[in-house]
């Protein structure tokens, strides 16, 4: 299994804030709102610019109520559910994200397809877990900072869900980070987990972001700034994984940790 790349080593971290980055981001926004794309659509860049698209399937896993559905809505720039409604089946969400590669200076349009399935549906219907795992490129394991049990369940999740898929990207996400004051998961436990598992770990707040002047519509630019670290993190891991799989990078065995 390839060692995860260091943060910022594959994609340029703050590129989305540069003038050039914003020009690219404009194609996933319309009138300062996030654009919703149908399955037959894709972002269109102004004519001279043509960039490659890299598509990935990402399975979002975690205990009921940790915030899977909320996270995916936040990533897509949609309203996040404020009360918990169990997700009764599988739902997928497509997020486009342009990112710039460090090595080649190329811009790639990442197409992330998030697969979100309610935990109880997953347990009740075997075919759902199979469908979610099939050909997935990455697993996102969610725990909630306000639910100690969801954190302690991580090793079990990792074994149950991603056990037979060793070559697939695995990332851990701590949700409800805005509730950190009331956390059940202290920093030292996170450090210990990271040392034991060597997995990338991100923190998210899936709460509604800033709104536009009308007071109702979510501000697309502000929303993107809130979640850029998650999408860049995913882009980085997935691109790196592809490079390793294609034999373009040394694997972890030869790659002694610095």
């Amino acid at each position: 299994m390839a060692r995860p790349p260091a943060h910022g080593s594959v994609v340029v971290p703050d590129w989305h804030e540069t003038t050039e980055g914003k020009e690219y981001l404009a194609c996933i926004l319309r009138k300062s709102r996030r654009r919703v794309f149908g399955l037959l659509e894709r972002p269109v860049l102004p004519p001279p610019v043509a960039i490659d698209t890299a598509s990935y399937k990402i399975f979002v896993s975690g205990k009921s109520g940790v915030g899977k559905t909320a996270l995916v809505a936040k990533l897509a720039g949609l309203e996040v559910p404020l009360v918990h409604h169990e997700t009764t089946g599988i739902q997928t969400t497509v997020v486009f994200w342009p990112a710039k590669l460090q090595a080649s200076n190329r811009v790639i349009m990442f197409r992330f397809e998030f697969w979100d399935c309610g935990e109880s549906a997953l347990k009740k219907f075997d075919h759902m877990l199979l469908a979610c795992k099939e050909n997935t490129d990455a697993f996102l394991f969610l725990f909630s900072f306000t639910d100690r049990a969801s954190f302690e369940d991580l090793p079990g999740q990792l074994a149950r869900i991603a056990g037979e898929a060793p070559g697939v990207v695995r990332m851990v996400i701590g949700s409800k980070f805005d509730q950190y004051m009331h956390t059940d998961v202290p920093e030292r436990d996170l450090t210990a987990f990271r040392q034991a598992w060597q997995l990338p770990l991100l923190r998210v707040k899936s709460v509604p972001g800033r709104r536009l002047a009308d007071g109702r519509t979510l501000d697309g630019w502000a929303g993107l700034a809130d979640i850029a670290h998650v999408l860049n993190g995913l882009a980085e891991q997935l691109w790196h994984q592809d490079q390793v799989a294609a034999g373009l990078l040394p694997t972890s065995a030869e790659n002694t940790p610095s």
Binding site: L40, K124, E134, N135
Partner: protein, 358 residues
Amino acid sequence: MGEEGTGGSVHLLCLAASSGVPLFCRSSRGGAPSRQQLPFSVIGSLNGVHMFGQNLEVQLSSARTKDTTVVWKSFHDSITLIVLSSEEGTSELKLERLLQMVFGAMEALSGFAEAMGTGFVSLMVSGRVVSATEGWWRLGTPEAVLLPWLVGSLPPQAARDYPVYLPHGSPTVPHRLLTLTLLPGLELCLLCGPRPPLSQLGPQLLERWWQPVLDPLRACLPLGPRGLPYGFPLHKDILGLLLLHLELKRCLFTVEPLGDKGPSPEQRRRLLRHFYALVTSTHFPPEPLEKVEDDVSRAQLPRACYLVLGPGEPGTGLRLIALQLGLRLLLLLLAPQSPTHGLRSLATHTLHTLSPLL
């Protein structure tokens, strides 16, 4: 239908055979695409004569005027294509071949259903079925109503795979409801068993089936909030309408026919709903009149009734009229300025205009 100038023009119309709803129209003049549109009434009549023949088991396939050739063709009872050409040297055969080719692209829905191994496929815009396979139309009443409601009430998702229990068809064993958002607001829905897995309906497969019919798909989008095709002529006093076909058990409903002046859509919906409850409980049976055996009582059934909201009620002065003609029941909500003596003729006229749709 004659055209001046050289080159002549060609109009292609595609309508849903069951409802007559125009799905798309294309025009060209001198070989180049043109924006010129056929008036709605012409489209309606062209479809009307063809349906009229069909009801008498007469297949109308072509007609000729001094300078124009018209060819009709129905495919699998699901789609009617009509082409009008005033180009020189046009032959019926050539036009018929053109229609065959166009239909090749239109076969998507039934072909797709077949390829996916299910007879239950529909296209929905904001929770309304705009096109569906025969199997879907034959679903029992609770599910036929509940599935579009469910889909229309869920937050947007690119795709879903939900277990659904069908109260009529399969109350204990769940089926799978798959939805795929082809365009924002337009969802392709499949009701199926264990197959196909959602992963099979990836972007490549969807593009292969649906990219060729992107134009007709886009034409479906305005059907969502308005419920009627663009350009459909309705009297400006109409604030909302509900048309029921008592035998087909389908309805056409809108509270946003034109602008948004006057009462809110919610209020319009509430008024129409109460009025429907009132007229079906007191005046009109919710079943087809044919079922009323007794000729005497049939003759006594009213054909129209109206009410004007009095002062003190919200929406003072708004008018509501119900009119039943044959198998169709029409309910209209009208603006206060609409003269009461003209209500009945307005309703009759509107019912006739809407009849090709349902």
